[in-house]
Symmetry: C2
């Protein structure tokens, strides 16, 4: 892509994050097999888009992104748990993710479920580890409650339930948006919100960043649906057209491919409009937004 | 049993707890099916031993047990999630619990996994709801971190992993204790610890209560193993001898039935010895301890 600023930033902070994730799991006094299963899925790579959003939000406030390292690790852990559980035979029944065998294909279903449970539980403990210099008790408590809301029945889990219920049905665009706002959007929103809370953002900045994350989340999902039809299966690490074969509704199906691309650009434009209104130095967040619109995997 | 004091106390606080659990799930803005699945397992009854321990610990300090209502609800939620996941086909594969169909038999595996995930996630949010009069931000933060440790890879999840790994193997008594201290003991310990933290216990009281809970947890599990062989299947809601048919090591198997009963009484005596050392009014906690030793289901 040649986005110099973001490339360097992403390179540096992905490495820091991945080292932190390894360290956090290594220090657990737990049966080796569960730590191995946790490491396996945390190490599986990916874009680390949620941690990057958190780091870039801190940078927008002129604050050292390292202050967000533990919060970013918690977000990546809850995201990883959700992938492990979503891939299970009784859910999406996926054998591969990002070209690697899914957790349950390597460790068996029981260990995969428990590795997910352990990551989810640990993510809260990790938020609690944030040092006082980076976040007061009040801030940490607020983070944990927002995190639970974003991840639970009113957030990501609720979105996954709605997604399952929507299979084999003709959904309206509102129903499809409900799914994505909850399944993907809430946690992307939390990532931005967590950065803003750690930066002591003002109320109007929080509002604008919330709107930014909302539109970014929808753009992210629309691009996901577009890639499922037009993407390169080698880069995606999964076959093209898997949504259709899983009987999932998608934006291109409801809006036509042309309509989906228009919707994508609408949400990208809205994202940037709200970023501008924060009055912050949002160059990294803008680059992340462009990356979401143009990513190939 | 005729334990007048505990009978009345348990009656009152079980009702309060169950009403609170219903209210907490009702207020969620989430797809109806996930709320139904959460309610189903929370409503399945049981002894509510963890909440009762928390309430009775507050009472020992002369503090209104109602101050512990949200913490007790959180503990019962995390316990309930663990039962839902443990019962899954890939884990213990149980069709009945307490005489009722297990969650996945009613709602299907995918919804059962997600109902467990939602309960686990919500339990942290519920701890965060504790009003400031009952617990400061620092206390709540400490509760959440202790809760995550008790529930996660270093606690309950680690115990479940060790339990699975121990199937079809001849375990040593140390290995068996590792399983039970983690799988059951950590959360029982948290229940007592949470009551003590909300009561601003002093360090030596915390230590004695920790030792009390440790021995109570082991007594609880030994009695569980004894009941599995000598209990009444109608009261238990499951067939007798299910541990053996699931190829699980038990105390009677490792110690003989006589040895297991001796160990039970040793741990009950130790529990009471540590209770006495707190210098608190522990009559309710003593009655709970006796109940653990003599319970028939």
């Amino acid at each position: 892509m040649g986005n110099r600023l973001l490339d360097e930033f992403a390179y540096e902070y992905k490495h820091l994050l991945e080292a932190e994730l390894r360290k956090l799991v290594d220090r657990l006094e737990a049966p080796p097999i569960i730590k191995k299963a946790m490491h396996y899925s945390l190490d599986a790579g990916g874009k680390r888009i949620r941690p990057l959003l958190l780091f870039a939000t801190l940078a927008a406030f002129g604050i050292d992104p390292k202050k967000g390292l533990l919060a970013a690790a918690a977000v990546e852990m809850i995201h990883t748990y959700s992938l492990i559980h979503d891939d299970l035979p009784s859910m999406d029944d996926d054998d591969y993710r990002r070209g690697k065998l899914t957790n349950h294909k390597v460790f068996g279903e029981a260990t995969a479920i428990l590795a997910g449970d352990a990551l989810l539980t640990y993510s809260f403990e990790v938020l609690g580890m944030i040092p006082n210099e980076a976040g007061s008790s009040d801030t940490k408590l607020k983070l944990m409650v927002e995190f639970a809301k974003a991840g639970g029945a009113e957030g990501m889990v609720g979105g996954q339930v709605a997604d399952m219920e929507g299979e084999n049905k003709e959904l309206s665009i509102e129903e499809l948006e409900y799914i994505h706002i909850h399944k993907t959007g809430k946690l992307l929103g939390f990532s931005v919100h967590a950065g803003a809370l750690l930066a002591h953002a003002e109320e109007d900045q929080l509002e604008n960043l919330r709107a930014f994350a909302h539109h970014l989340g929808l753009a992210f999902q629309i691009q996901d649906d577009i890639l499922d039809l037009e993407g390169n299966p080698e880069l995606l690490g999964k076959p093209v057209g898997s949504d259709a074969s899983n009987h999932k509704s998608t934006y291109p199906q409801l809006l036509t491919m042309d309509g989906a691309k228009k919707a994508l650009h609408h949400h990208i434009d809205e994202s940037k409009r709200y970023l501008k209104r924060t009055g912050l130095n949002t160059s990294l967040l803008i680059e992340i937004t462009d990356l979401v619109a143009s990513r190939d995997h």
